[in-house]
Homo-oligomer: 256 residues x 2
Amino acid sequence: MSDLKFPKVGAYRFLVEPFHCDFSDHIFWGHLGNAMLNAADYHSSDRGYGVSELNKIHKTWVLSRFAIELQDTPVSYDHLIIETWVEAAMKFFTSRNFAVKNADTGHVYGYGRSVWAMIDTDTRQPTDLLSVHDGLIMQYVEASRPCPIANPGRVVVSADAPFDSSFVAHYSDIDINGHVNSVKYIEHVLDLFDVEYYRTHRLQRLEIAYVAESHEGDELAFYKQQTGDDAYAVKLVRRGEKNETVVRCSVKFVKD
Amino acid sequence: MSDLKFPKVGAYRFLVEPFHCDFSDHIFWGHLGNAMLNAADYHSSDRGYGVSELNKIHKTWVLSRFAIELQDTPVSYDHLIIETWVEAAMKFFTSRNFAVKNADTGHVYGYGRSVWAMIDTDTRQPTDLLSVHDGLIMQYVEASRPCPIANPGRVVVSADAPFDSSFVAHYSDIDINGHVNSVKYIEHVLDLFDVEYYRTHRLQRLEIAYVAESHEGDELAFYKQQTGDDAYAVKLVRRGEKNETVVRCSVKFVKD
C-alpha cells in the first residue's frame, strides 16, 4: 500500500545502564527523556526532515511541549524499545508521540507526547513546516495509533507561587544549540524534591512547556506550588529586568 | 593456552548521542566517564567479580582514583569502543585501565586509568579482594598491555586555594549507593570553567581522587587554584564542623 522508505512508526532500542538510575535503581526521567528525544532525532533524520537536513535550509526543530506518563518505571539493565511517530502536522506545529516498552516482555511502561515548532535559524521566527520537501512529513503522519495519555495542557502557575530555589546555568547545562538543554530543565525540576519524597512516591506524569531560551550564566529561579495531592506546578524565571518565564512544568506523583 | 571463559580485555561499543555532547558537539567527559565505568561493570560482572556478585558476600567495589587523558575528543554519532582490563591486583587495591577507540577507524582517542578498593558493605572497611573466589581476579590480570598515560598521582591542593563556588547535592546527584555519584563530581568540577574557556581550550587530562563520601543535602564547596598553564587543582569540601575534603581533582587543558 505504501511506497515509503521507512515505516511510520520508528522503534529504537535502549539499555538502561546502572549509571542512568537513581538511588532506588529506577531510571532518571531525564535519561529517559534523552532517549525519547534521541528516538525523535533518529526517526526524523531517517525520514528526511531531521535537524541536519533542516540546518542546510536554515531551519531547525524547537521542542515546545513534552509530556511523559509512566505506569511503572524501568530499572537498570532493562532493555527498552522507544517507539515514536508523528501524530499530526500543521503549518506551525507538529505533534509526536512515544511509547516506552520493555524489549523482552513487550510490557508498556508508558507514553510520551511532544509538540514541536519549526523555526528559521536566521530570524528565529516560526516557519511553515509543511513547506519542507513539499510537505514530506505529511506522508509519515500516523493518526490512528493510540497514545492513551492526556495531551500536554496549559500549565498554570499562579503569580504568588512561592520561591523555592535558584541555580546558575553552567557549561554542562548547555547543548549544541548554545542554550540550556531541554532535558536539563527536567533534571533541575526533579531536584526540587528530595530523596525521602522519592522513597515514598513514584513520579507518574511530568509535563513541561518551553517558553523562552536561557543561556550560560543566567540565574534561574524556581517558583513551586502544590496544586493537588502530590501534584505540583513549577515555573522557572530568569532573573533580570524582565524576570522572564523560561519554562513551566507540572509533576504528578503517586504514593508508592 | 588459556581456559578462561572470557578474554582478559573486554571491549564494549558505545554510540555518542547528540545529547551526550556539549555546545561544541564534543562528548561531555562525564558521559564518557559513565561509559568507561559501565564497561568496568560489564567486564567485572562477566568475569565473576562484579558488584551484584560481590553484594551476595557483603562486599562491593569502591572507586578510589580515576584519570582520563584524551588526545582528541569524540563527537556526536561517533561509534566508540571502550576497552578495559585489569592491570594489577593487590590485597587492597586493583588497577583497571581503559582505551577509548573509534569503532569504525580504530583511531585511539585516549586512555583511562583507575584504582579500586573492595570494601565490606557491613563495616565499610577495606577487605582483601584476593580472597574473593580464591583470587579469581588474578587470572584476568593483563600486565603487558600498554596504557601510555601517567598513573593517577597525588593531587595536591594547597591550603590557601581560593574558594570558587558551592552547590548542594540533590536527588539527581545520588546513585544506587545512596551517595553522590562518582561521575557527578566530574560534571560539577567541569562546570567551574565557562563556555568561553572551553571555546578556546580542550580538556586534555582529568584526574580525580575520591577521598570521602557525600550525601544528599550536603553543601559542597569548591576551592580551585591554578597550578600551571591551563592546569588547575580543585578540592571539594563538605561544609560542616569538620570541613572534610570529599574529592581532589586536577584538570589540564590545552589551547585549541
